[in-house]
Amino acid sequence: MLLFLLLALVAPFIAPYGADQQALADRLKAPSAAHWFGTDDLGRDVLSRVMIGSRISLRVGVLAVVLALLSGSLLGLVAGYLGGWTDSLFMRLMDVVLAFPPTLLAIGIVAMRGPSLDMALVAIGIVSIPVYARLARSQALSLKEREFVTAARCLGATAPRIVGAHVLPNALSPLIVQATLGIATAIIEAAALGFLGLGAQPPTPEWGLMLTNARAFIINAPWAMVFPGAAIMVTTLAFNLMGDGLRDALDPRARA
């Protein structure tokens, strides 16, 4: 996990070649000392592209989750704390979003605005909003009955202040755990959209896009496909493990 973050940070400095540096004479070369992961159909170094691609996946994963986390938490906390028709309205809206398979919904959103990495990012963010909204709402529902919230209300605190200062901090840890797991999902979805041609556009070294381009050479140059695929797998696994670890660390019951 840390390795991945470090890699994403320093990739442009340590990558042996540029992501778009073509060498048509060296196309589809098997892994060697010069090209550890081999080269793709334009003679680009697969290792460099996988390394530089980590930045793209990280950016999409983190930004999409931040987008979903911020808007989802806000909706969920407000709905949970206020209750009544606000709650019904917000939550039915979330149900509508949840009713669609997330990838399909993301494809729909991208189709409306034309394919690009940024649209993919926004689409993935939107489809994950309900997860955070529901989590935040359930936290708000239980927290608002607690004594410290009642006390704050008795002292005359306004609703925004109670939600911001008292409910949110206490609801934070499950949201953070969920967000860490969400990054893994977002990375996979971005790769799926890239694979379908709906996310990053060539020549971006996005892992999903690299997979789809290498598919034609699966027999004579499997390395062009194996390494980006492995990168997706390892990264997703790392985020999932970190999410599990965080949950254990932040859950008071588990600690006891």
Partner: protein, 536 residues
């Protein structure tokens, strides 16, 4: 029922089920073998995309014409693997001394698949449909791109007449060199007037012609099935059924061919052709070259209205390196907007030099010392002249980046891609052309011969009256030497102005199972299944 006694009948029920399954499977097995045997006479063609329509007058792409050419026939057709003209629905013809009056003597006893007779009236009904586009009852708000833009028949044909049931006369306004080869194009196929009258809006669901195959079904995005026409005038085809299957992905199509699930395929990945050559079960056929892939500039965009910018980008592209690496040995670096060996191909014109330094200077002179960013549209499907457009686009853009021109690579669905290219919505785009009849007019008149102005659908955005006049004169001439001279002059102007970058000419490879015989790769890609045999 007590629990203990339940297991007995239940176990027996299972046994019965297993036995009956085995019996059913063993009964199916001969059926499966029988189907494999009967399928010996089915020819399955793996195609890279689906047809758009099955109305020959309205289509303009090879995926659609592959289907319509088996169902419909033209008055004259191409002979085997050449662009020589041979009789088809017309048994013979003559032309007046001034080259304007053409009499076609039609083949007697031919019937459409719906049983109605083929005669001069039927031919006339089709010509009227094409000619009187707004006044004819068979015309419904459609563009006859070939009639108007490719063949220029709207300008050329004066009138058509039925002389007797088997004699049809066409009178031209002027003599025309490419007239007869133009008539052999898939688009001027004769459709049953009854089918037109019944449902001209959607001929695609009921295409009725005179050809060797009858239409059976079209499952969109999946396959078209055709059945041999037992009453075909040229004799019943050797195969009983032809299935044109859509398999978009080149690699997947190749796997299907290797597995024997299809008998024939177009557009293999260049790297797979090498595998096919070494596989004793497969054969590689090469289509004689009659195509060109090019990069087009929208000259309504001020950047690309400047010939210096267009020339600079042509010089910035290392075409030779790209063609060598990405065409699998089936392509050559194109020098002009024709295929080598065609009439009018100007041997005096050299290759476009690769010179990024000079390109950069030229861009500076045009006012772009730091280059610029442009959208670059690449085709979503592989075509004979661009075997992998997305990869080629990336290679071209890497060259352009070296002189400061940055690409924003874009694509969209193939049908929409062409509509938008024709609507001039892209600044720079890739496209190409496979010749329909071997005549230079079929390339150059289509590329540069018509100009409709901004916003009017036309692939051509280059407003050059000199070239248009030269092309019209060449089209209206029947003198070989004069035409040759005129087309060479066109090539000279086109080289100076560089309205499009000629990219590559190819001999497109086709792959087949070794038992497929009688398939003649045609330079126009007009390939008829009527001679194909599949003796496995």
């Amino acid at each position: 029922m007590p629990a203990g006694t339940r297991s007995g009948p239940r176990r027996r029920a299972w046994a019965a089920l297993v036995i009956s399954t085995l019996v059913a499977v063993s009964m199916l097995a001969p059926a499966i073998t029988a189907r494999a045997q009967s399928s010996a006479r089915v020819f399955i063609f793996g195609q890279s995309g689906d047809a758009t329509k099955l109305d020959p007058a309205l289509i303009e792409d090879g995926l659609s014409s592959r289907v319509t050419e088996q169902i419909f026939e033209t008055l004259v057709e191409f002979d085997g693997s050449s662009t020589r003209i041979r009789p088809a629905l017309a048994e013979n013809w003559d032309v007046s001394a001034d080259g304007k009056t053409w009499n076609f003597y039609l083949r007697p006893g031919v019937r459409f698949h719906d049983g109605t007779p083929f005669d001069a009236q039927a031919v006339k009904a089709n010509f009227d449909r094409w000619q009187f586009q707004t006044g004819d009852p068979f015309h419904k708000a459609a563009e006859f791109i070939y009639w108007n833009d490719v063949a220029g028949f709207n300008e050329l044909i004066d009138r058509t007449e039925v002389i007797d049931p088997l004699t049809f006369r066409i009178t031209l306004k002027d003599a025309s060199g490419p007239f007869l080869p133009n008539l052999a194009q898939f688009t001027f196929a004769i459709v049953s007037p009854l089918a037109l009258a019944n449902n001209v809006e959607d001929l695609s669901s009921n295409p009725v012609g005179t050809g060797p195959f009858k239409f059976v079904e079209w499952v969109r995005g999946d396959h078209v099935t055709l059945a041999a026409n037992p009453d075909y005038w040229g004799g019943r085809p050797q195969i009983d059924q032809a299935v044109i299957r859509v398999i978009n992905d080149n690699a997947a199509r190749f796997f299907e061919l290797q597995a024997g699930n299809i008998d024939f395929m177009e557009f293999p990945n260049p790297d797979d052709v090498r595998f096919a050559r070494n596989d004793p079960n497969l054969q590689v056929l090469l289509r004689p070259s009659l195509n060109i892939g090019y990069i087009d500039f929208n000259q309504f965009d001020p950047k690309f209205a400047d010939a210096r910018v267009r020339n600079a980008l042509a010089m910035a592209t290392n075409k030779q390196r790209i063609v060598d690496a990405l065409y699998g040995g089936t392509g050559v670096n194109a020098r002009q907007m024709l295929a080598p060996g065609m009439q009018g191909y100007n041997e005096a014109i050299p290759e476009i030099p690769y010179n990024p330094g000079a390109a950069k200077e030229m861009l500076s002179a045009a006012g772009y010392p730091n280059g610029f960013t442009t959208e670059f549209w690449y085709m979503p499907v592989d075509r004979p002249y661009f075997p992998n457009p997305q990869v080629i686009a990336q290679a071209v853009c890497a060259d352009w980046a070296a002189v400061g021109v940055r690409c924003d690579l874009k694509t969209k669905d193939w049908a929409a891609y062409r509509v938008d290219a024709r609507a001039q919505k892209y600044p720079v785009w890739m496209l190409g052309w496979t010749g329909d009849n071997g005549d230079p007019d079929n390339f150059l008149y289509f590329f540069f011969g018509t100009f409709s102005g901004r916003g009017q659908p036309n692939y051509n955005t280059w407003d050059n009256k000199q070239v248009r006049d030269l092309l019209l004169r060449a089209q209206r001439s029947v003198d070989y030497d004069e035409r040759e001279r005129l087309y060479r002059d066109v090539a000279t102007v086109v080289r100076q102005e560089m309205p499009k970058i000629p990219f590559a000419n190819t001999t497109p490879p086709l792959l087949a199972r070794s038992y497929v015989q009688g398939y003649y790769p045609n330079p126009t890609s007009a390939e008829l299944f009527k001679t194909v045999t599949v003796d496995r």
